[in-house]
Symmetry: C2
Subunit: 205 residues, 2 copies
DNA sequence: TAGAATTTTTACCATTTGGTAAAGTCACGA
DNA sequence: TCGTGACTTTACCAAATGGTAAAAATTCTA
């Protein structure tokens, strides 16, 4: 019974768990939770369905595992915002990191978006704890910068919302972006310039 | 056989079709296409499942009907951007209209977001025609304003993307916003001020 | 290498779900 | 008010899907 909490995951266990989670990420991010089937995940992973269920307690357990691991990755760029750095450059660097994530981890972005869009049925606890405390902390930091006259007067919470939405847009609404810019060889580069210009202006005293 | 293309929809037909579409919007926007069942829609509409299928050819037909009608509503605020108005005020007014839509039509916004997130399997034709031509037209308009020196040099396409993403964020990621701002009595008002400030700065020469 | 433990497959099962056939019920014009 | 067409319900069905039991195969260890 290797699922749940095994003490010493064997080599095979480690490999297959990773393979399953990767396949599940691919499938869940493409079709959503309800739109994905264990058969699809099994096919993508190159394993049989009962074999999948040997490693995870069920479809929901796979999804929950993915979301839990995702949360860490998701918060890292915000964690890296340094109170000791230059306010403007710290925030602009955060925008850039977020945009890079949308390009490099589109599946993770869409998985997250789908979960939130559905009302976060499985992620709510994580939001209320991890995300919430980090969000409050960084909002306070930005407010502190504002009070010290190092940033113009702005709304820290909605600034972060705008950073999230504009960057994740390029992953979550990827199809739409591609339909409207079919010939752009490097949409990411132009997006980066645009966002740097926009937030750069906003953060200038 | 009232589905498809009836000539003269009776009073009952009109009422029930409307009731069904409204129920389907509620259900689809909450659980996604695959996550929604005809039984749910039937229950929400107060009708039996076979009765639903008397008015629509099937689950997919309901979804397609909703998406088709939605596209019009969705494009209206952009259509209203007037080439003869003041560039800055026209764009800022568009931002405001979009934000109002996120507040007043959150179900429509989430339905649209879910469809795009899943790769627009049913909406792709509409995107490639209606949306595409309007997008190109308004990008050209903005570029024209820039060339005339009436707007600062910016990227019209990505400006529109940023307007879409920041405004729809308040509908699509509503749960997240509420988790992070549990005490805000009027999040919409603050969002409006924030977006006006942000895009206002961006559009200032 | 023998035996134990782990991993994988085969053969199922119960439920859900989109959809249909056909019988009944209702509304309305002649 | 009567008959015809529009509407609704009842009773189903086939396929898909999450999940299980147990046998078979493989790997690890003493």
């Amino acid at each position: 019974m290797p699922d749940g909490n095994a003490k010493k995951p064997s080599r095979i266990q480690k490999r297959n768990r990773r393979v399953i989670l990767d396949a599940a990420l691919e499938v869940f991010s493409s079709y959503g939770y309800r739109g994905s089937t264990l058969d699809q995940i099994a096919a993508e992973a190159g394993l049989s369905k009962p074999n999948i269920l040997y490693y995870f307690d069920g479809k929901e357990a796979i999804h929950v595992t993915l979301l839990s691991r995702l949360m860490q990755t998701w918060l890292d760029p915000l964690v890296a915002m340094d109170p000791l750095g230059d306010p403007r450059e710290e925030i602009l660097a955060y925008v850039q990191r977020k945009l890079d994530m949308a390009r490099d981890l589109p599946r993770e972005s869409r998985l997250f978006a789908g979960e939130i869009l559905m009302g976060a049925p499985r992620m709510m606890p994580h939001l209320q704890t991890d995300l919430r405390s980090l969000f409050d902390e960084k909002c306070a930091l930005i407010q502190h910068w504002i009070d010290a006259g190092r940033l113009p007067d702005l709304d820290p919470q909605h600034l972060i919302f705008s950073i999230w939405s504009t960057t994740q847009h390029y992953a979550d609404f990827d199809v739409q972006v591609r339909v409207l810019q079919p010939d752009d060889p490097d949409p990411h580069a132009r997006a980066s310039l645009h966002l740097r210009a926009m937030f750069g202006r906003m953060l200038t005293l």
